[in-house]
């Protein structure tokens, strides 16, 4: 055999996916209500201070003489990074909000890895990274009446520990090519017919791969796919956006992940349509914030308090939630980071209570074990 394996390089695997305009539709006896939840994990630590800028705080300009992106006023105190200017209509329509100065209970070591573990496990720091084997969205599924195997989706190639656990959930990467001609597909179906596991998995895969989630960048594929699922039987979806670790050249570097976040939100809104968008809450959360002061290379380093973005027709929009701690050195955490004034889990728990009617006791013991829900105002209308 004449080999050309590896040595001459190889092109991208085939991408001429044959269209399968048909979807799997699984009849559901019941569904957990009508509300939709999308959780976006912003991996790499989004700089909340540059995204939702506290321009009304005298300490801000002093700490950020260089790293301060162009921004538009939100409420006279905070201003929104121009990288999200496409979301201003949502702000005006009260479909966009932020929580500022919030964080997980993670402190001090400022490792992405541990911080994301804790954010997705939804636990306190009494458990160390990896000790909690499942994620808080999965534990929600475990207690959600009417939840089935099609209720929740992890979308994209990135592993989603937040949705991992014993409750069944679906996963799919919309950029997965499945270039199968009609005759080859018929033969594969013939070969799988006697094996229930392969039959079911391939049946779903052919349906999903044939879906036109739309053209565009990965993030648009993902958000378009999520919208399709949520318009049908799914109620919960999770995916990640990366690129937030802006140690240098932040003003340029943060534009790309902000653009992705903006595209994701707009694509979700458009894909869901007004009716479903009206019942949807999107929570975009990150493992921790970044330092108050810019560093010597035009960026910021790992910090503590950060910001969460909230969007959707079901949210209390048009406001920046959370208590602002101030930026003076004595007001900071460890004299360097934005002081967290709330636990990000508290806001998420409140949203789950409002969206799905989950009891406070279940939220504090099962979904977010160890959390004491303070009377944080609900993010949900």
């Amino acid at each position: 055999m004449d080999r050309r394996f590896f040595l001459k390089g190889a092109g991208v695997l085939g991408c001429s996916a044959a269209a399968h305009p048909w979807l799997t539709t699984l009849a559901l006896a019941e569904a957990p209500g009508d509300n939709r939840l999308v959780v976006i994990i912003l991996r790499g630590a989004m700089d909340g201070l540059d995204v939702v800028q506290p321009r009304g705080d005298a300490g801000f300009q002093a700490a950020r003489p260089g790293v301060r992106s162009p921004a538009a006023d939100l409420d006279g105190f905070f201003a929104l990074n121009d990288g999200l200017s496409g979301l201003m209509p949502l702000w005006a329509a009260s479909e966009l909000a932020f929580v500022h100065a919030t964080s997980t209970p993670y402190r001090d070591k400022r490792s992405h890895f541990d911080g994301q573990d804790l954010l997705e496990a939804g636990t306190g720091t009494d458990l160390f990274s990896g000790a909690q084997r499942d994620g808080w969205l999965n534990r929600l599924l475990q207690v959600l009446p009417g939840a089935g195997s099609e209720t929740a989706w992890a979308v994209g190639r990135e592993a989603m520990p937040v949705l991992t656990g014993t409750a069944p959930a679906q996963s799919w990467a919309p950029d997965q090519d499945l270039a199968v001609t009609a005759p080859a597909r018929a033969l594969l179906e013939h070969v799988y017919a006697d094996d229930a596991l392969f039959h079911a998995a391939s049946h779903t895969a052919f349906g999903l791969a044939g879906m036109e989630a739309g053209k565009g960048q990965d993030v648009e594929l993902i958000a378009g796919f999520v919208a399709e699922r949520l318009r049908e039987s799914a109620r919960i979806a999770a995916f990640s956006l990366t690129g937030w670790d802006t140690h240098k050249g932040q003003m340029r570097g943060i534009r790309q992940p902000l653009g992705q976040l903006q595209s994701a939100i707009l694509r979700l809104r458009d894909g869901l349509g007004p009716q479903v968008w009206g019942k949807t809450a999107v929570l975009a959360m990150t493992e921790f914030g970044r330092t108050v002061h810019e560093n010597g290379s035009g960026g910021t380093d790992h910090g503590t308090g950060g910001a969460m973005l909230v969007a959707g027709g079901a949210v209390r929009g048009g406001m920046v939630h959370g208590r602002w701690p101030g930026l003076a050195e004595a007001e900071r955490y460890d004299r360097r980071d934005l002081m967290p004034t709330s636990d990000v889990r508290d806001w998420a728990a409140g949203a789950l209570m409002a969206l799905y009617g989950i009891d406070r006791q279940v939220l504090e013991s099962t979904v977010f074990p160890g959390l004491r829900m303070e009377a944080a105002p609900s993010l949900i209308l």
Binding site: L13, A205, G296
Partner: protein, 441 residues
């Protein structure tokens, strides 16, 4: 079970040289040839790169940082290639399967890009040398390896009343102690308490790493005084009480039961015959954790030799088996251009759900067939089966011959018919590789 059956269940499939349990055990008892034929990466290779990266970060020297990252990436690639080359080329594939099994039992994952080669280093330095030896020795080697100490945060654990603990606000970190009991030895359901976890964590204080030396025991971090774990009191200075506790944990009957069940689940069935588990457990108990003996017990127990294949091949095993069936030589893997290796091997591995040496948590990869044959996982296998072989061999083999090469009489009627009905060699070869027969073992 015939020779092919052993190659499929306990190796990486066909073609394979004729074998039987006696030959497999003899090879396993002999020298580890694959490790020398296809050398991996050592901590001595990686440590200077990590140090250079740290220094470059401190000095904010971006050129030096980029160079350190490039060096680290090259080491990670070399390690990944060595793992594939050994699995493809070894005459002793059962050893490679055992290495993967124990590597999963003692899962570590990189916590930063600079450390991508670290899991492979732990495997080569602490696991491979002991797969035909004693479990207690493997446990000692793994627990004191820098990769495990970093992964389970042991370097952050300080005895609260140790000299360091009294000066600093840092304290005990229970992570390594908990996983030692829950994952590495007794198992999650076993009768240990939170008190045992805490005492063991106190006992382990002092295990840490130093930038220049790697693993060290630092008495200034060690919690003074005796600790009592599972009713046994450990006292004294230095490593001795820690090593004694590890030996005692390795010898616990709960540990034998836990390891026996995991071996049976991994190699034979998601729901294994209790008689097989009992036989493996008895072997471990009788021999004091002799892993060669338990491997022999596994290869010879009637319940392990049921020819019905009920396990799903995990993605790594699937890719190795497919490359082997296609006739790819280990040298081609070693020589492969990085880009091609990523596109044809490491990328697809991730799409199939098993990113290389990046398990999601310390409990490693799942075992159940339903965790692997998912819509996403199967789509990635089908896509690879249909597209990749044409990029690997030219011309493609005749699909009917390839069916024999890869499955030798194990293809069902449906597959035999479908392969003969395929409209192209590409589809025919793809059908073989995507079939349930090929994806089970």
């Amino acid at each position: 079970m015939d020779s092919d059956g052993y190659a499929i269940r306990f190796g990486f499939g066909l073609p394979a040289r004729a074998t039987d349990p006696a030959a497999m055990i003899a090879a396993l008892a002999g020298p580890d040839r694959a490790a020398t034929d296809w050398p991996g990466v050592t901590l001595a290779n990686l440590a200077p790169v990590i140090r250079a990266n740290r220094a470059a970060r401190k000095a904010k020297d971006e050129v030096a940082q980029r160079s350190a990252r490039r060096d680290a990436d090259a080491l990670a690639l070399r390690g990944a290639k060595a793992t594939f080359a050994r699995a493809l080329g070894s005459d002793d594939p059962f050893r490679e399967r055992l290495v993967a099994f124990w590597a999963d039992h003692f899962t570590v994952a990189p916590t930063a890009r600079i450390e991508m080669a670290l899991p492979g280093i732990l495997i080569d330095e602490a696991i491979r040398p002991h797969v035909a030896g004693r479990f207690a020795d493997m446990l000692r080697a793994v627990t004191t390896h820098p990769a495990m100490i970093v992964y389970l945060n042991q370097e952050a654990s300080v005895g609260p009343t140790s000299p360091r603990g009294k000066r600093q606000k840092t304290g005990l970190n229970e992570n390594l102690a908990r996983e030692l009991l829950e994952l590495h030895t007794m198992g999650v359901g076993a009768a240990y308490t939170q008190g045992d976890v805490r005492e063991l964590a106190e006992l382990l204080t002092g295990l840490t790493i130093a930038p220049e030396q790697g693993f060290i025991f630092d008495p200034r971090r060690a919690e003074p005084g005796p600790e009592t774990v599972l009713g046994v009191t450990y006292d004294g200075a230095g490593m001795q009480p820690i090593l004694q506790a590890l030996d005692d944990l390795a010898a616990r009957p709960e540990t034998a039961a836990h390891l026996a069940r995991k071996l049976a689940v991994h190699f034979v069935a998601d729901a294994p015959d209790p008689a097989l588990v009992a036989a493996l457990e008895a072997s471990l108990a009788r021999t004091g954790g002799n892993l060669l003996a338990v491997s022999e017990a596994l290869l010879t127990h009637p319940a392990a030799l049921d020819t019905k294949t009920v396990k799903a091949r995990q993605p790594f095993d699937f890719l190795v088996a497919a490359l082997r069936a296609l006739g790819v030589q280990p040298g081609e893997i070693v020589e492969a251009a990085p880009k091609a290796f990523n596109r044809l091997v490491l990328g697809p591995l991730e799409a199939m759900g098993q990113p290389f040496h990046r398990a999601p948590g310390p409990d490693g990869w799942p075992e159940a067939e339903a965790d692997w044959i998912t819509p996403q996982g199967l789509a990635a296998r089908i896509e690879w089966a249909l597209q990749a072989p044409a990029r690997i061999v030219r011309p493609l083999p005749d699909p009917r011959e390839f069916l024999t090469t890869a499955l030798r009489g194990r293809a069902g009627d449906r597959l035999v018919w479908a392969v003969s009905a395929a409209e192209s060699a590409r589809d025919g070869v793809g059908l073989v590789l995507a079939s349930p027969e090929f994806n089970r073992r």
